[in-house]
């Protein structure tokens, strides 16, 4: 109990890591809901890895002496964020365009993309051996060293992204559920799709910088799946998934801290346990009609 209270104190040594994980745990499921409902779960595997590849690309640029961001370590971090955002958003747009055209095998595309992103992550880092350690740290989501101002900026951005997800929930639901109806009602489905993809891109990129690709994939998919059987509307699905994500992150951090275990895998295991419990409970509790 005293450990738990220590964790909640403002002076807690790892408070960036704790609250960063929890905030990502709350926000990622909000966009993950659309991955699940649009049946694009495998995007959730590939995009965090693409984001990691973008970070590695930024490190490669630094290795080649092409860091155009000033500010030492903070500059390096900003360049890495930029790399992640550019790679992720560009990839989402290309994937969305190909999905719209309906050309080729979607799962095959995602599989190839995942392999490519993984391979390029390693190759880009190979160009900057000095950055390898830092890169590994970033990919594992080690945000202990982030400055206070950057940390608060990151929280503000996540808050803004979450706000957008709730504010435009009707439009995102309509274009996802029945695109033809949206157009018939005079909605510009393409614009709403692009906005959703931009929010997804930013969430995934910043999330990967915060907790790493494995945890982001977990947060994108597992809490929405756990919440889905209990939801009676998009608002309840989003809120419940977000709550489960945040609680999994907090519980995972507590366990990781007290048992000295790696944070990412513990968080994902806890989220999976919640999903298993939810599925089992759904089998036991009859659905009201």
């Amino acid at each position: 109990m005293s450990i738990l209270l220590d964790m909640l104190k403002p002076g807690f040594l790892l408070h960036h890591a704790l609250w960063g994980s929890v905030v990502v745990g709350f926000v990622c499921p909000l966009v993950g809901v659309y991955f699940v409902l649009r049946r694009l779960v495998f995007w959730g595997v590939a995009l965090p890895q693409v984001s990691a590849s973008g970070i590695a690309f930024a490190f490669m640029l630094q290795g080649l002496g092409l860091n155009f961001m000033s500010g030492g370590e903070a500059g390096e971090r900003h360049l890495a964020i930029l790399g992640a955002v550019v790679f992720t958003v560009a990839t989402i747009l290309v994937l969305a365009m190909l999905e719209r055209r309906g050309a080729g095998l979607s799962e095959g595309r995602i599989g190839a993309l995942y392999a490519l992103a993984w391979a390029t992550s390693i190759l880009f880092v190979a160009w900057n051996a000095a950055g390898e350690t830092e890169m590994l740290g970033l990919l594992k989501g080690e945000i202990v060293s982030i400055s206070e101002s950057d940390f608060h900026l990151m929280l503000d951005i996540f808050a803004a992204l979450a706000g957008c997800m709730f504010l435009f929930q009707r439009e995102f639901t309509l274009v996802s559920y029945d695109r033809d109806m949206a157009v018939t009602l005079g909605r510009n489905a393409l614009v709403w799709d692009l906005l959703l993809y931009l929010i997804i891109g930013l969430t995934v990129s910043l999330g990967v910088m915060t907790v790493g690709p494995l945890v982001i994939f977990g947060f994108l998919v597992i809490p929405p799946l756990a919440a889905l059987p209990w939801a009676r509307g998009m608002a309840s699905l989003s809120l419940l998934a977000s709550l489960l994500g945040g609680l999994s992150a907090f519980g995972g951090f507590y366990l990781s801290y007290t048992r000295d275990l790696p944070l990412g895998p513990v968080v994902v295991c806890i989220a999976c346990a919640v999903y298993a419990l939810s599925s089992a409970a759904r089998l036991l509790v009859p659905r009201s009609s």
Binding site: L37, R39, Y177, D178, D180, M181, V183
Partner: protein
């Protein structure tokens, strides 16, 4: 009848319709006037849905003209009932939430931030379609006929001039089909609707149509229901259906 009443709501003039650069239908001439009940009929894959999609603005007209109210085709006031199988049952949406989608055209962001809504309209549309008791149930849990009622309620919530239904009777038993047709007849009278209904088969519904568009082999033949039903090819088709 006033001049405005006699003006076509939609007019296709020598139009070529299709996807990309490939026309599915050519030389389409079609005029839909207020109060008419059109059956757009034809075999599977004949191009019925292509007409519907062009009308709704989902795909552009390849050649020729499509006009609405005498203006170049823009943003018409349609209520659209898609094929129910197209809607993914994974979404945890209640019948009320689905019906409320019809009102989204009317609410802008500022109104929504002020907490405005169209609860009464949604309630009324569900009641008009005999779906009040279904309001809090998930759409995915409903039977085919119940789903169709909710989707018609959603279309009504858009307060449309034209109600467009894509294969509304497909996969529904005869008794429920009759009930849905009665509902459409009733809604047409009460809401002064113009209705277009796409179907690949014709039985009970043919008595409701005032006009028929027969889609076959890349062409569209149109006319008053009585004339079309008694004309050579179509009477053979209907005889074989019955």
């Amino acid at each position: 009848m006033t001049k405005k009443d006699s003006e076509p709501l939609i007019r296709f003039k020598n139009a070529s319709l299709g996807y990309g650069k490939s026309p599915v239908l050519t030389k389409v001439d079609l005029e839909i006037r207020p109060g008419e009940f059109w059956g757009i009929l034809g075999y599977n894959g004949s191009g019925k849905t292509t007409i519907l999609k062009t009308m709704l603005g989902l795909i552009p007209c390849l050649r020729g003209e499509v006009r609405e109210h005498g203006r170049l085709f823009g943003r018409p006031s349609f209520g659209y009932v898609p094929q129910k199988e197209r809607l993914d049952p994974l979404y945890p949406l209640t019948a009320r939430a689905v019906t409320a989608m019809g009102t989204y055209r009317k609410l802008d962001l500022l109104q929504r931030l002020r907490g405005a809504g169209h609860g009464d309209l949604v309630k009324r549309c569900l009641a008009d379609c005999g779906a009040t008791s279904l309001a809090e149930r998930r759409l995915s849990d409903l039977s085919g006929g119940q789903k169709q009622r909710v989707l018609i309620a959603r279309a009504l919530a858009a307060e449309p001039e034209i109600l467009v239904l894509d294969e509304p009777l497909a996969g529904i038993d005869i008794t429920t089909q009759q009930a849905l047709l009665e509902l459409l007849k009733d809604l047409k009278e009460r809401h002064k609707l113009t209705i277009l209904m796409v179907s690949h088969r014709v039985s009970a519904e043919k008595g409701l149509f005032t006009h028929i568009a027969w889609v076959d082999e890349g062409r569209v033949t149109t006319g008053a229901s009585g004339d079309m039903l008694s004309s050579g090819r179509l009477s053979e088709v209907f005889r074989s259906e019955l």
